[in-house]
Symmetry: C2
Amino acid sequence: MSEDRRRAVLHAIVEGYVSTSEPVGSRALADASHLGVSPATIRNDMAILEEEGLIAQPHTSAGRIPTDAGYRSFVDHVAGQALQDPHRRAIRTFLSDAVDLNDVVERSVRLLSQLTRQVAVVQYPSLRESAVRRVELVRIGTDRALVVVVSADARVEQSTVALGMEPGDDEFEIVARDLNEAAVGLTPAPLIESLARWVARPGQPIWAAAVADAVVAAAKGGTVRRVVFAGTSNLARAGADFESDAIGSILDALEEQVVLLRLLHEMTGAGQDVAVRIGAETNSEALARTSIVAAGYGPTGETSSLLGALGPTRMDYPGTMAAVRAVARYLSRVVENE
Amino acid sequence: MSEDRRRAVLHAIVEGYVSTSEPVGSRALADASHLGVSPATIRNDMAILEEEGLIAQPHTSAGRIPTDAGYRSFVDHVAGQALQDPHRRAIRTFLSDAVDLNDVVERSVRLLSQLTRQVAVVQYPSLRESAVRRVELVRIGTDRALVVVVSADARVEQSTVALGMEPGDDEFEIVARDLNEAAVGLTPAPLIESLARWVARPGQPIWAAAVADAVVAAAKGGTVRRVVFAGTSNLARAGADFESDAIGSILDALEEQVVLLRLLHEMTGAGQDVAVRIGAETNSEALARTSIVAAGYGPTGETSSLLGALGPTRMDYPGTMAAVRAVARYLSRVVENE
DNA sequence: TCTGGCACTCGCAGGGTTCGAGTGCTAATC
DNA sequence: GATTAGCACTCGAACCCTGCGAGTGCCAGA
């Protein structure tokens, strides 16, 4: 069956190019791989693969390199790979020492960047739906307030609210106390009702509505979905894979966070454990020569947040996928127990 | 006075090299600058400057470039420069829209990176000494607790404490309530006393001490001194100034934070408004080809935190210094009013 | 102290050549 | 029909050579 061999040839090209970063030719491929055919045969297969748009040659007298479509085919047909044992141990020891949520996220992102040798990205875990334990309202200046919500699962959310007027201190204190009473112990669903009643009370100032909104938002899991990176230096090290100023654009895109958040969000849908976007599939000019391997994580049942690795299209997909998958699993477990 | 002219020559060399990034020769210098002397004279001055170690030539038949010492001399003798007017306006509009502390820091660091076209670094402002407004103790698992301290100046600090045992729920609740009573309304000095008495109460569990420590630490301003960056892409864009893999090392050093924090800390001492470290003065291998311009900021009287810009030694020192100074001033003002 | 002149150095850019990896095609073979 | 060996061809990378010119240091004269 020549189709099987063609696939083998494609895979060999991908692996060869990934490890040497040089176009791979028919002879080298025939020598190194264990498909027992001659270079000429491989050349024929290559011609077909090229027709199918899976490989290309940078210039006439060079070997072949995979196209985005070639990588895609490779990724889709590669069986999941087990993580190397030392890596497995690294994950366990690395994450088990974490002291709080920040620390967990911080450690995860570093770990992931080390395992993959790519830029690692971890989105902060979203809160689970949990009861409000305490609401604190603190005055800032004359016309703003800080809302702090401590939830029963030990997370702290804060946000600032513009009051739109300057209430008296007494009034402010009373509202703060009432608010706490109206909110404590409730999970989001009843909380919303309770606060709606609270806002509607006769004599309640207008700004109570804004405060209530902030409390609800915080209880639901906060509004901000921050993202942290590590390993940006790996980008610089892979310099040869990018045009001169592409690295700058990529770093900008990362700092923006917007592009990345959109992309991670889009990748959730698929539902498989690990999702991969290759090159132009990122739909982002800056990231056109990069690939992203991402996975969801979170308490069982809901994969509420994402983490992933970003690197040049010429990356070790099986290895990266294994690492991303493994870190996502461990992180899920940690988040679960917190 | 030939010494004055030598200095002028040095400054012209620095300015020329900074703007063109090419070694500057005697003729070009004679043409462009308005010291009315011939190239030959300038060559003589150059010979002396080179003897003094202030300039060097990359190779025999090339112009001169400043050494670290040359930049140092330049920086020390340059009068403070005023910030350009559009920049001044940019700072005002940019920072005035900020809604909370995070936002202020976030905006500042972006702004600074845009103004300087370098990597900007801002250390989170330390808390002022302020009274505790509320302490919340939340249980995590069975043997740990989350301590949340809301201070009167509207900041929220949290940390996790290992209890070392598994207290009963009732006991835990009582301790939490007592703790709050013992702490509320106190500034650090009396707080420490009050909590010491509280810990010593008969029947108080052992873990109360650990909790008390956490509260004090939080009230004093938190233990972590985080640093945020922006504009790392500017490093990549200045690629020509660095050897191939130097950018990677620099990014690593930034992510580490340790090196940077030490460095910023060292720079505080000097007491002038803006401090500059050039090349090898950073005492860091990774940063050997970079310079840092830093300034302290904080409420009047105490410059409690630092911010700065980091870039290749070949940077526009006067411009960068002006921008750093200006942002530090505005930021001080903002922190003051919060 | 400055300047003009001059001989000298040396990196860089351009052009030509060689080398070899890799290809596509065709004809022979399994 | 699939595979292979052979062969002519292409074309980028590396190398060498050369000329150019920017820049220098030094010396003698103003």
